[in-house]
C-alpha cells in the first residue's frame, strides 16, 4: 500500500509543519527566558537592562504567536489545518487514552494520540491568551486598570501552566524511550516505519489523503532539489 516501503522511512512532518513547530518553539524559549528574567525579582536585579529584556520579550512573544501562522499561510496551509482538525475530533480510541481502567494495554493511536491532541489544543489556547494578555500589558495605557491587572495575572498563570506542560512535552520528545524517536520526525521530517507501526499504528494503516499527498510532494521536491 505504501510506496517505497523498503526505504523504511515514512514522512511524519512536512516542511511547513516543521517550520510552524520550530518558529513556535524558538519564540517560546526566548519569550520564556526573557519573561522569567522580567518576572523573577532576583534575576531582574542581577541582569538589570529591563528595557532590553522587554524588547526581546515582546519580539519573541510576537514570533511565538504569529510567525507560525505566517509560515502556515506561506507554506502548506492544508496540512496544518488537517492536523488542527485531527486534534479537535476524538474517536473512541482517543477517549480511551485517558481512561483510568484500561484492560487492553493502551489505545491504538492514529497520526496523533489523545495526549498530543490535548497538547495541541492547550498550546493553541495558551498561545492565543498569551498574545491577548501580553498585548494588553504592552499597550496598558489604552485599557482599564482592572483589565491590565487581570491580563498580568493571566499572563503569569499561563507561564506557570505552560512550563509544566512543556516539561512534559520535552520528556516525551527527548527522554521517554518509546516516544523520543518522534523528535527525528520533527528534525528531518521522517520517522522509521517500524516505530510508526508500533506507536501510531492507525496512522500508518490508514494514512489520510493529505499526508500521502505530502509525501509525494516532498519526495518530488527532494528529487528536484537534489543532484
Amino acid at each position: 500500500m505504501e510506496p517505497d516501503g523498503d526505504l523504511g522511512l515514512v514522512l511524519r512532518f512536512n516542511r511547513t509543519q516543521r517550520a510552524v513547530h520550530w518558529l513556535h518553539a524558538g519564540g517560546f524559549v526566548l519569550a520564556l527566558l526573557s519573561g522569567l528574567a522580567l518576572l523573577v525579582g532576583a534575576a531582574e536585579e542581577l541582569i538589570g537592562h529591563r528595557f532590553v529584556l522587554r524588547v526581546i520579550h515582546i519580539g519573541a512573544g510576537l514570533t511565538f504567536a504569529l510567525a507560525p501562522l505566517l509560515a502556515a499561510r506561506l507554506g502548506d496551509w492544508h496540512s496544518i489545518r488537517a492536523d488542527f482538525r485531527a486534534a479537535q475530533w476524538w474517536d473512541a480510541e482517543d477517549r480511551r487514552f485517558f481512561a483510568i481502567t484500561d484492560d487492553s494495554g493502551g489505545s491504538r493511536a492514529g497520526r496523533f494520540n489523545a495526549g498530543q491532541k490535548a497538547n495541541l489544543m492547550f498550546t493553541a489556547a495558551a498561545t492565543l491568551f498569551f498574545l491577548i494578555s501580553g498585548a494588553i500589558m504592552w499597550q496598558y495605557f489604552r485599557f482599564d486598570r482592572a483589565l491590565v491587572q487581570n491580563a498580568g495575572m493571566l499572563h503569569d498563570t499561563l507561564t506557570f501552566t505552560i512550563l509544566v506542560v512543556w516539561l512534559g512535552h520535552l520528556w516525551y520528545a527527548l527522554v521517554n524511550p518509546r516516544t523520543r524517536h518522534s523528535m527525528r520526525g520533527m528534525l528531518s521530517g521522517y520517522v522509521d516505519r517500524s516505530w510508526a507501526a508500533s506507536v501510531h499504528p492507525r496512522w500508518l494503516g490508514q494514512p489520510n489523503a493529505s499526508s500521502a499527498a505530502e509525501m509525494k510532494i516532498d519526495r518530488a521536491a527532494k528529487q528536484e532539489g537534489g543532484l
Binding site: 525579582g41 531582574e44 475530533w89 474517536d91 491590565v148 493571566l154
Partner: protein
Amino acid sequence: MTETPLLRPIGRRLFLGLSALGAGSLLFGHAVTGGDGEPGLLADLIGQNGFRIYTVAPIPTFDPATWRLALDGLVGRPLSLSYADLLAQPSVEQRGTFHCVTGWSVPNLVWQGVPLRALLDTVSPKPDAKAVVLYSSDGAYTDSLTLDQALTPDVLLAYNMNGQPLPLNQGLPVRLIVPEMYGYKSVKWVNRIELAPSAIDGYWEVRGYDRDAYLDKSGSRAPA
C-alpha cells in the same frame, strides 16, 4: 468499533473551555481575587513584600554620611539635604495601594515621608518653573511631573514603608510616591529634583510609556 469511529469534538471543547477560562479571567479575575495579585507563595518567588523589583541599571549603594538630595533648577533658593536633614523634616504617614502597569498591586502600604509640596515651597519655584524632573542615583532613571501634579498634597518623598526604612532594592533612602499614578512615576533612589520649564519624557516614556500615568483614565486628571 474502529471501523466507523464515532468522532466527537473533545479537542475543540478543550480549546473552547480553556478559551472561556482565559476570557473569564480577563474580564472577571479582578472580582475573584480582589485585585491583590498572586497568592503569597508565588509573590515571594517573584518579588518581595508583594512588590516585584524592577530596575533599569545596577542598584545604587547608599552611604548615609555622604548622601545628598539636591533641589535646584528654576528655584529662588536651591537646597541640598543630607539624610539626617531629610529625616528631620516634618513628615506625614499615608496609607495606599501601589499599582504597577504590568498588572500587580500591593495594598495597605503605610508610607512615611515628606510631602514633595513642602520641599517645593521651601525652594521658592520661579514663575517659569512648570514641571519637576526627578533623577535617580542609579544614573539612568528619570521621570517628571507637571508642577501642578507635583503640588498634589499626597505626592510624597517616602523614606519609610510599613514602619521600616525602604529596602535597598525599593529605593533606599528615598523614593517618590504618587498615589494616583502607576508606579513608574514613583522614582526610586531619588537624589535630585529639578524645577524645569516643562515636563520631560522620563526613562520609560522615551521607550513608549504614556507620560500621563493616571490610574483612572476617565477622571481625576489634574490640569496640565
